[in-house]
Symmetry: C2
Subunit: 425 residues, 2 copies
Amino acid sequence: MSATAAGKLDINVSETQLLADLERLGRIGLGADGGITRRALSNEDAEARSYVAERMRAAGLDVRHDEVGNLRARRPARDGATWNTRSNVVMTGSHLDSVPSGGKLDGPLGVVGAVCAVEALNAAGVQTERPIELVVFVGEEGSRFKRGTIGSAALSGHVAVADVLALVDPDGVIYRNAMATYGDSGAAIPARVERGSVHAFVELHVEQGGVLESSGTDIGAVTTIAGLVQHMVTFHGDANHAGATPMHLRRDALLAAAQWALGIERAAREVGGGAVGTVGKLTVEPGGKNIIPGRVDAICDLRAPTPELLTALAGFVISSLHGIGEQRGVEIEQQLLQRVEPGPMHELAIAAVERAAAAAGLSSLRMPSGAIHDALHVAEVAPASMIFVPSIGGKSHCPTEATQPRDLVRGVDVLARTLAILANE
Amino acid sequence: MSATAAGKLDINVSETQLLADLERLGRIGLGADGGITRRALSNEDAEARSYVAERMRAAGLDVRHDEVGNLRARRPARDGATWNTRSNVVMTGSHLDSVPSGGKLDGPLGVVGAVCAVEALNAAGVQTERPIELVVFVGEEGSRFKRGTIGSAALSGHVAVADVLALVDPDGVIYRNAMATYGDSGAAIPARVERGSVHAFVELHVEQGGVLESSGTDIGAVTTIAGLVQHMVTFHGDANHAGATPMHLRRDALLAAAQWALGIERAAREVGGGAVGTVGKLTVEPGGKNIIPGRVDAICDLRAPTPELLTALAGFVISSLHGIGEQRGVEIEQQLLQRVEPGPMHELAIAAVERAAAAAGLSSLRMPSGAIHDALHVAEVAPASMIFVPSIGGKSHCPTEATQPRDLVRGVDVLARTLAILANE
């Protein structure tokens, strides 16, 4: 099959199988509120992984796991080579761990979607020049250990395997020991892949925002993963009596924080280019209804698709604190929690997604990802992109996260075609 | 003694005794953070009350308690009459209960200050035409039962005694049964006083704000007690991913609340005339650092010295919600928690405080009280005012609430002189 023949592939994704897989995974770690909680390397995570490993084997894949716990499975190339191939591999995958009380698509769609895509390629009799590797990245969400995207960061060499194995969760469990849930999935292979050994990577994921839905587009071809700056900011005011303290004698920590939060919104709009800024966490002390707020602790989350825009936004947000503090007599402390550089995707992979969408008769849109994904790290060592499908109401990281079944199937269809393009070009 | 002779009184307040009394009470209910927690009718409240009753008896007062648990003690008039007097009485007093982790002056100063004032009158050989009654009002702070100013509201007839006795605390304890801590303080007298039976009332209290301190004034003569409107407001936004949701697709509940809170500040300044507005309690859900706030619950506390100003301020604050909701696509619910009408003090009592201050060689300032006090209810049946002393840094309702010992003594001095003026005029 030539690359240009991708349009002629007879890809038929099994909607029944895809929904059954998502439904099955959606019962593992299901809580009373309808949300799913699967922490990295927990029993729930292991149960989900076992189910997926079984599905992978049924699809004819050779299943391994690596030193940090990424599940890795290969579909043979035309010449029958899998792990011992001399040609570089085409990779796809996502994660199975979740945020606390998250949805059933964030991660799992890109995992079981990849298995269903391979099954569609099998059914269509598609053979490829390069083997295709499916990866279940461990610990993407960062809801157990201190950092997220653990598996992909180890795979790209962004963090050392030894540093991953030494991570400790809030209960004092060391990552190395939490790996015990792996048991019998075969001997561990190295986590790290060398630059040049992966021809391309593509990850299927729900958008988690409302851009595709509101623009009526079927598929997003991700051009960049936005970088991130998070600051913790504490406003120290004066907790006086709300009745007895005239307006001009107040040092109200909440009003200072309110002014700052509204300024972040203004700055993100002014910086433009897809920059966003949010104050998602904010607590008020002492919190009495008749006491002027004496202290506010808040965290801002700033994102932008280029380092320049990210620096501009963060610069404004932090420099605005000085004037607010002066004006209100409020002392302000701030601390950088993290900065993650933006990750540009690669034209080779972006174009493959676009071509696959067109071949499937679907509309597509080049767009940045505001959320961080494993593709960010894989992009450090291989050409990468992502396939986004619409999220209903832009909802994610919550029990109501959902996508129309039709759109789920379309995403898997495009994934199958993209893999075929990349593995044969 | 004639009224004009007040200036010639040889009043010598015992600083040692006053500070010892405050220190002694300050150990009852003292917590690890240095704050005092004495809920109405608790064991701590009873212990404080017993101490005060003993001090009252030592000062020559006849001590009773009434049906709702106000401790009431009388100093005989010149003719020896106490409870069975035909002339109307001059009252003073405050409360012993506290907010959670409050200070040692809010309430106790007006209680032991009254005892020390009586002792100063005794030492100076001052006799009066009218008996003087000291009252310890029960449950002023509202930190146990659903309402505050319980004792004074029952005394004025603002609430019926039967309704007070039927109050229930969060643990299900009925007020009537909580009264068991009273035990042997003598037979209960009626709580309610008839209009005309009280010549005047004056309450000594810390200012709890920064007006006296910042203006360098010794004594505040309270002209009115500001009214209060409290609303609970809920902002319903959309809890989406902070990275994946562009600014123009957001419905951020916190930004709506921030805009509202800053608008309250602006409105209070514009309304002027001593109006103040505060958002002291505000919670953000879900509260994840990378999730756009989907819900904010907040309470606003609005105060003004006249009904007109209070209505103007509350009107603005509530009407502003509509525009904010429209602008941000945020649904907003609001509920009135309470409205307390402003309580004008009486010229008879205000002027007596001013004259007493002048007689003691102290500066005084006519000022409103932003905080609510028992004097608000007593004013419904008798001419009333309050004596304020400066609060260091305007601090109150917290462990760091404090007043210079010199200022405490001055307040008691002015109280003694005010009582002498009112009881002899």
